[in-house]
């Protein structure tokens, strides 16, 4: 992983929260989990996520 200091910190004090508080089960209803390879699941390889730009 890259140097943690390079990762900007989100200012949590500026977050504006909704009155709607879904449960985890409700929130994950439409989420399709990624199917990681066995090498990732066993810790042999690490995944890297980038922004998708079309």
């Amino acid at each position: 992983m890259e140097n943690i200091k390079e990762y900007p910190r989100l200012d949590m004090s500026k977050m504006i929260f909704s009155d709607n508080h879904p449960t985890t089960q409700e929130a994950l209803k439409d989420v399709v989990p990624f199917e990681w390879s066995d090498d990732v699941l066993s810790g042999k390889k690490k995944i890297e996520i980038k922004e998708k730009k079309d």
Partner: protein, 135 residues
Amino acid sequence: MCRRGDIILVEKYKSQGVDVSHHSFVVIDDKDGQIKGLNYDIVALAMSSFKDEKQKEKKLSYPGNFPITANEENVDGGNKRDGYIKADQFYFFDKSKIEFDVIGAVTVEAFTALIEFMNRYLADGYKIEPITDNL
């Protein structure tokens, strides 16, 4: 141990008695805090892939979804490496109550773009839904 930018795979946890494990999340904050009087030490966003092209189009039209792509060789079914981070819902976790593995990280560039994306989302008048039933 995890820190912001990490991708965690939650191995075991339940919501309202239902097993909702095996989901991947991006850690966006690793500082201790409190919400609704409950302690947390991770704030994370859910990552999702797409079911099909129709769902992809629909999901990417939502203002709170940030498009991502994974390094292809590490995803079963190389054509399913694209997805999105659901930036409109914050999951608050207490590390002592979940089992998880750190399976990778978001690049600094993508994480920086995600933070800017979230700041724009809030500036446009949207609100974040907090998920606290894991605490």
